[in-house]
């Protein structure tokens, strides 16, 4: 297994971890306008995300940073080629990030309503657009021989791209509902569990349709058909999907959330393994794809970065897990009365 292949896998894992972490707070932000009945419920939802959202978002910076470090040509083509959707995602994340800090700073309903809107847009748009972007990567981008993206935002909003967007939104809503469930109590918890329950069949249907769509419209299954043993990887998100429903129905909310994380991570990795060894397949001509071979950094850089990753990624996971443990209790009125609460 070469350094390039190791880094390809790590690249996929980092994007998968970003989606399974930030997915829950993007999901909670997306449902908030429709789900929260009053100011208290909104504040519970903000504080359920409070200690985690920023640490979750750093996984995006790491996924992007690692794309830059390990596959600079891919980073260059991906970010400039997907300019408009990335700028939209960026502005959405900016207004969402600011919402947490600003919302409670002025005691005025219109001020809070403004930031609630920013939080919604800043959660829904990234969920949708990441799904659109990754679906387009899975089906292949219109890249010419110089790696220049031949198209615009509308090119990305093709049926398969939109299907990916819808898929991600559903995955994140479900994921967010489960997180909210174990971070809340009583009626709010019951309703959050109910939302996860209602979303599950829709999500399951969209997953099946998306897989069929992938089979008919993309080359995503090619690697799997050549090496059928890889189909084991498809079992991972399927297991996640089935287990999340199973645990939720039995009231084991943390287990249900973990299974939902496995579903999201597994779905991302299924797609990434499908495009291997390309990182940005070109649907104009496979020879124009950006691959491990033509876009990776020098072996020295890959080796050093591997060392860095081996030291720091487990460390980060350890202290982020510790934080989740520290703040595991549901958000109560006492927490809301706390002067530093959102």
């Amino acid at each position: 297994m070469t350094l390039g292949t190791i880094w390809f896998i790590l690249w996929g894992v980092l994007w998968a971890v970003y989606f399974l972490l930030d997915g829950f707070d993007l999901g909670i932000g997306t449902i908030m306008p429709f789900f929260a009945k009053d100011e208290t419920e909104k504040r519970i939802m903000y504080n359920a995300m409070g200690p985690f959202w920023d640490g979750n978002e750093v996984w995006l910076l790491t996924a992007g940073g690692v794309t830059f470090a390990a596959f600079p040509k891919t980073y260059a083509v991906m970010f400039s080629g997907l300019y408009t959707p990335l700028m939209l995602i960026l502005f959405a994340l900016i207004i969402r990030g600011v919402t947490f800090e600003f919302r409670s700073k002025v005691d005025c309903p219109r001020w809070r309503a403004l930031w609630d809107t920013c939080n919604f847009l800043g959660s829904f748009l990234p969920a949708l657009l990441f799904g659109v972007a990754f679906a387009n990567i899975f089906e292949g981008l219109p890249l010419d021989q110089d790696g220049i993206f031949q198209g615009n935002l509308l090119t990305l909003l093709n049926p398969y791209g939109l299907a990916g967007g819808v898929l991600f939104v559903l995955l994140f809503i479900h994921h967010g509902a489960l997180w909210l469930a174990f971070k809340s109590e009583d009626a709010l918890r019951a309703r959050a569990v109910g939302l996860a329950a209602k979303t599950w069949p829709v999500m399951a249907l969209v997953i099946v349709l998306f897989l069929i769509f992938s089979f008919t419209s993309t080359q995503l299954f090619a690697n799997y058909l050549i090496h059928p043993v890889l189909f084991v990887l498809l079992l991972v998100p399927v297991a996640g999907l089935l287990l999340t429903g199973h645990y939720r129905a039995r009231g084991r909310l943390i287990a249900a959330w973990v299974a939902s994380a496995v579903l999201i991570g597994g779905t991302t990795l299924f797609g990434v393994v499908g495009i291997f060894p390309a990182l940005l397949p070109s649907r104009l001509n496979p020879a124009w794809s950006l691959t491990i071979a033509n876009s990776s950094s020098s072996p020295l850089t890959l080796a050093i970065m591997l060392g860095v990753a081996i030291v720091f990624v487990p460390l980060v996971i350890a202290y982020q897990a510790w934080t989740m443990h520290l703040f595991r209790h549901p958000v109560t009125q006492k927490d809301l009365d706390y002067e530093e609460a959102y």
Partner: protein, 434 residues
């Protein structure tokens, strides 16, 4: 100049300028808050706990904008400077990835622990979390400045496969230019935080509000303000030495020095006239001082702009004015720092004019740091990597409309957010900490 290049440069410059309004305060105030909480844990004096919370709340309002404006920059290397990213990514990309893995995670995770964990952690463990935030934000500064340092003085690379490839990671991370640059930025940030605290404390002391609280705060602020205004100037001098040796075109532009000469003089007042390759005005000649400042040797030869090909010269006017502005502001900071330190024992009894002056001193380091970055980045032009790649060859193949729209969006969104942030800072700075 090609429109996409110009608009992309404006966009990056603007985005960085706005980001750098918030970053220095994060770097410096995280340390000051940590110092306050340390005094609380050591003395058990509740005033210090309230200080950590009060100044910490201002820290958080500022930190939020630092974070969101920072994400933009990591994206922007790829979105607008794809050719640059592909060319030097082998080196530059690693530094950014390390910044995220080693520093951003630590900072973002533990700030949340600090905010939400007052009642959940022992005082010592809670104190550790803010020190981790202070450490992590300064650690991220090291990595990003190592990255900028590579752009200013590329080391540890070899040109291979049509790009710059890493040949020595050790050379890249021990780049002396970059480390001095880091010290210059960080000491500037610490001075900025000192003036921020001293100035806001002065506002309350003028009104005789919470005298014990704000005189304790003032003492910490004044110490940081004076010590680091002096240190930033000393480190800045050394930075000038690095620039003189490694970026002679930039030094010539900083001083609008056109003719190569031994024992080069400095002019107290000069007006650059790039079109005529000279200065339309140059008065207050001090012999040999430029050579002395640049090389610590009054008989050294300082190369003039005329000896660089025209296409290798930075924009002189902007570089020169920014440099002079930075020096003036730095000098004013030292004077204000001396005044603050002089009254630190009983600042509530300081003369009203002095306290008011210290309130007005708050923006000085902000302007000084931005002017300094303007020197660093404008003075590096036309190079995006000094001597290796030109800015005009580094842009992404984008449509003008894409960049025009994103630039407009940045202007509107960033200015709105910056105004809101300053409004909230002012509001919460005025509050009663009791």
């Amino acid at each position: 100049m090609d429109t996409v290049v110009l608009l992309s440069r404006l966009q990056f410059a603007f985005a960085t300028f706005i980001h750098f309004i918030f970053v220095p305060l994060t770097l410096g105030l995280s340390i000051i808050v940590a110092v306050m909480e340390t005094k609380y844990v050591r003395t058990k004096d509740e005033t210090y706990k309230r200080m950590a919370k009060f100044w910490g709340r201002l820290f958080l309002i500022n930190f939020a904008l630092g974070v969101v404006t920072g994400i933009t920059l990591e994206f922007q290397f790829g979105t607008n400077w794809s050719r640059y990213s592909a060319y030097v990514g082998d080196i530059f990309g690693s530094l950014l990835a390390i910044e995220a893995t080693a520093a951003f995670f630590l900072e973002s995770t533990f700030i949340a622990v600090w905010v939400f964990g007052w009642e959940k952690l022992s005082p010592k463990l809670h104190l550790t979390s803010i020190w981790l935030v202070a450490f992590a934000s300064n650690l991220s500064a090291i990595w990003i400045i190592l990255a900028n340092g590579f752009m200013q003085h590329p080391v540890g690379y070899v040109i291979r496969n049509g790009r710059a490839e890493l040949s020595s990671f050790i050379d890249v991370i021990t780049n002396g230019y970059a480390w001095n640059q880091f010290l210059h930025v960080v000491t500037g940030a610490l001075a900025l935080a000192g003036f921020f605290v001293a100035g806001i404390a002065a506002w309350h002391l003028l009104r005789r509000q919470n005298v014990d609280f704000f005189s304790k705060s003032f003492r910490i602020g004044a110490a940081f303000a004076l010590v680091f205004s002096v240190v930033v100037a000393l480190v800045g001098h050394r930075q000038g030495n690095f620039v003189a040796e490694l970026q002679p075109a930039k030094l010539a532009a900083m001083e609008s020095h056109w003719t190569t000469e031994k024992s080069a003089p400095m002019y107290l007042l000069a007006i650059p006239d790039a079109a005529n390759e000279g200065n339309s005005l140059a008065i207050g000649r001090i012999p040999a001082v430029l050579s002395l400042m640049a090389f610590n040797d009054p008989s050294a030869t300082v190369k003039g702009l005329k000896d660089f090909p025209k296409e290798d010269r930075p924009p002189v006017g902007l570089t020169f004015v920014s440099f002079r502005l930075m020096i003036i502001l730095g000098t004013l900071m030292i004077l204000a720092g001396i005044m603050a330190y002089a009254v630190r024992k009983q600042p509530e009894n300081a003369p009203g004019w002095l306290l008011r002056l210290l309130i007005w001193a708050i923006p000085l380091p902000y302007l000084g740091l931005q002017a300094g970055w303007a020197v660093a980045e404008v003075g590096r032009q036309p190079w995006i990597v000094y001597g290796l790649m030109r800015t005009k060859d580094a842009v992404s193949p984008l449509a003008t409309s894409q960049v025009a729209i994103s630039l407009a969006a940045f202007f509107i969104v960033y200015i709105l957010l910056a105004v809101l942030d300053i409004f909230l800072l002012a509001r919460y700075a005025r509050k009663d900490p009791a």
